[in-house]
C-alpha cells in the first residue's frame, strides 16, 4: 500500500480511509484522533474522539462536557486497531498530553507528529523519536534563522530584569496552554520562589497542570491585587492581554513575551514587546532537521509553517518531501483570543 493510500490530506484534515478516522480534523467528523489540546488541533463537535487523557481533559475544560459524543483515552505506548490500521501514541514533548500518532498498515508506518519539540520541558513527557517510513512534521519554525537556544538563559534575562527594576511589574505574555506553565516551572527551576501572578484566563489550565502533578509553587490571581503590591512581581498573561487596557492595573509594566517568534526583531517590534524571551514549544530549525534525520524516514510530509525551506532541505538530503497544504493550523499564539467566560473582568 502506498503511504498516500493510508493517510490523505482532505479539507477536514488528514484522513485515514482504511481506519475510518481523521487526525486533528479542523471540521466536525465521525471519528477524530487528536494529537494535543491546542485549539487549532483539538476542536469540538466530533462524533468520537481518541486522545490522551490529558488532551481529553483539556478539551473538556475548554469546550464543556459535550465536546464530543464519545471519547476514548489512550496512553503513550498503547496500540489499538482501527479498521485496517494500527494506531499507536508516542510522546511529542509539545505540551502536557501531546502525542505523535503512528499509523501502521501492513509494512508501512507513518508518524503524524502534530506539534513537537525535542527540547527539555519540565511540564511534559519528553519527545520520543519513532522510526518510520513517512514522517509528517510541522514547520512552524522551519527556517534556519530560528534556533531557540536554552530556555533557562531566557529565564535568567527575565530575572535579571526583575532585579534591575524592582519597582516595575513584569508581564509575561505566554500561551495559556503549555507555555505559561513551562515558564512558571522554569522560573521555579531557576530558584525564583516568590508568588507568581496569573491572568484570569490562565487559571483553569494551570490548576489542571498542578492536578496532574506538575509543581508550580505559589500562584496568585492578579484580580483583586492592589497595584502597588504588583511592583517587582511576575505575572503570566495571554499574549493578547499584554497590549490591552488590562495592563493599566500594573505599575509601569515591562512587557515580555515568551515565544519562538521573538528570535526575529521585527516580530517583537510588531507586538511592542520590551523583553522578548525566545522560549518555544515547537522544535527549532536544528530540532526539525535532527528529528527528520533520526526517524530514518525516506519520505517527509511537511505541514503548517514554513514548508518551503524544510521541503527544500529534505530534497537536498535525497529524501522525498512534499508540503501537505493543510489549512486551519497555525501558531496558537497568533490567534489566541480570550475564550468567553475566561475573560478577566
Amino acid at each position: 500500500m502506498r503511504p498516500q493510500d493510508i493517510l490523505m490530506p482532505v479539507p477536514a484534515g488528514l484522513c485515514c480511509k482504511a481506519g475510518g478516522f481523521h487526525i486533528d480534523p479542523v471540521r466536525p467528523v465521525e471519528r477524530a484522533v487528536i494529537t494535543h489540546g491546542h485549539s487549532d488541533h483539538a476542536r469540538p463537535g466530533h462524533g468520537a474522539a481518541l486522545a490522551t487523557q490529558e488532551t481529553l481533559d483539556m478539551m473538556r475544560l475548554r469546550y464543556g462536557d459535550n465536546f464530543a459524543r464519545s471519547t476514548q483515552a489512550i496512553s503513550y505506548g498503547e496500540e489499538i486497531r482501527l479498521g485496517d490500521v494500527n494506531v499507536k501514541f508516542h510522546p511529542a514533548g509539545h505540551v502536557l498530553g501531546s502525542a505523535q500518532i503512528a499509523v501502521s498498515c501492513k509494512a508501512t508506518k507513518i508518524v503524524a507528529s502534530g506539534d513537537y519539540k525535542d527540547a527539555p520541558d519540565p511540564t511534559c513527557t519528553p519527545f520520543e523519536v519513532v522510526p518510520c517510513d513517512v514522517f509528517i512534521t510541522e514547520a512552524t519554525f522551519g527556517l534556519p534563522v530560528f534556533r531557540h537556544g536554552n530556555a533557562a538563559d531566557e529565564i535568567k534575562k527575565l530575572l535579571a530584569s526583575v532585579a534591575l527594576f524592582p519597582e516595575r511589574a513584569h508581564l509575561v505574555g505566554a500561551y495559556s496552554l503549555g507555555k505559561a506553565q513551562r515558564v512558571i516551572a522554569l522560573l521555579r527551576e531557576a530558584g525564583y520562589d516568590a508568588p507568581i501572578y496569573l491572568h484570569g484566563a490562565m487559571e483553569k489550565i494551570t490548576h489542571y497542570y498542578e492536578s496532574r502533578g506538575v509543581a508550580l509553587g505559589e500562584l496568585r490571581a492578579v484580580k483583586g491585587t492592589k497595584k502597588a503590591d504588583l511592583a517587582g512581581t511576575i505575572t503570566l498573561a495571554p499574549p493578547t492581554a499584554t497590549s490591552d487596557i488590562w495592563t493599566r492595573r500594573f505599575p509601569d509594566p515591562v512587557t515580555a513575551f515568551a515565544s519562538g517568534w521573538m528570535r526575529v526583531r521585527a516580530r517583537a517590534r510588531q507586538r511592542g514587546v520590551e523583553l522578548p524571551l525566545v522560549i518555544s514549544d515547537h522544535a527549532d530549525w536544528d530540532g526539525l532537521t535532527a528529528t527528520i534525520d533520526a526517524t530514518g524516514a525516506g519520505e517527509v510530509w511537511v505541514t503548517h509553517g514554513q514548508e518551503d525551506a524544510l521541503v527544500h532541505w529534505c530534497k537536498a538530503k535525497g529524501l522525498a518531501a512534499r508540503p501537505l497544504d493543510l489549512v486551519g493550523y497555525g501558531d496558537e499564539e497568533e490567534s489566541e483570543t480570550l475564550p468567553d467566560g475566561e475573560d478577566e473582568a
Binding site: 534556519p144 534563522v145 534556533r147 537556544g149 531566557e154 530584569s161 509594566p253 534525520d293 514554513q306 525551506a309
Partner: protein, 177 residues
C-alpha cells in the same frame, strides 16, 4: 560580548529614557575592562569596520549556507545583517567542508541545538587585521575573516539598534502601554 548584545537588545526595545539609563549604568557597573571599553566605543560610534562591506558579508554567508535557505530566510527576516547574525554558524564550529553538497551549510549547525549562544560571542572587535595571523596562511586568514564578519554582522545590528533606540526615544512614538 553576549552581555553587550543583551544590553543592545534591551535598549532597542525599551521606550523609556530613564529605563535606558538604568540599563546602561547597570551594564557598565557589572562588566569589566576591556569589554565595557569596546562597548562604550560601539555605543558612541567610535568603532568602524573599514574593510567589511555588505558585499563581503553577503559572500561570506553565501559560502556557508544553502542559497535557497538563505533567500527564504532573508525574505522572512527582511534585514541582511540580522539574517546573517541569526544564521551564522557558532564560532566554535569548524568551517563547513566545501564539498558542494547542498545543505552542507546547515549541517554544521545541528550540533548546536542548544544555541541562543548560536550568535556565540564573536571575538573582541578589532578593526585592524592582526598581521601575524593574516600572514599565517589561508586557513588563519579565513578564520579571521569569519571573525570579522561575525563582528560586522553584529555591528549592523548594533547600528540598527542605536537608530531604533533613537526613534523609540522620541516622545509620542508610543503613547500607551
Amino acid at each position: 560580548m553576549n552581555r553587550f548584545a543583551e544590553l543592545l537588545d534591551r535598549l532597542a526595545y525599551e521606550p523609556g529614557r530613564n529605563n535606558k539609563l538604568r540599563l546602561i549604568s547597570a551594564y557598565f557597573r557589572e562588566v569589566g575592562d576591556p569589554d565595557r571599553g569596546y562597548a562604550l566605543a560601539a555605543l558612541t560610534g567610535a568603532l568602524s569596520f573599514k574593510h567589511a562591506k555588505p558585499g563581503l558579508i553577503r559572500d561570506l554567508i553565501a559560502a556557508r549556507t544553502d542559497p535557497v535557505l538563505f533567500a527564504l530566510s532573508y525574505d522572512y527576516v527582511g534585514d541582511l545583517s540580522e539574517t546573517v547574525a541569526l544564521m551564522w554558524p557558532k564560532a566554535s564550529s569548524p568551517l563547513p567542508p566545501r564539498s558542494g553538497g547542498e545543505g552542507s551549510g546547515v549541517g554544521g549547525l545541528s550540533a548546536c541545538s542548544s544555541g541562543s549562544e548560536s550568535a556565540e560571542a564573536p571575538p573582541t572587535p578589532n578593526p585592524s587585521p592582526p598581521r601575524a595571523r593574516a600572514r599565517g596562511g589561508r586557513g588563519d586568514h579565513r578564520a579571521w575573516l569569519r571573525d570579522l564578519a561575525a563582528c560586522f554582522a553584529r555591528g549592523f545590528v548594533i547600528h540598527s539598534a542605536l537608530s531604533d533606540r533613537r526613534a523609540q526615544g522620541m516622545p509620542g512614538v508610543r503613547c500607551a502601554r
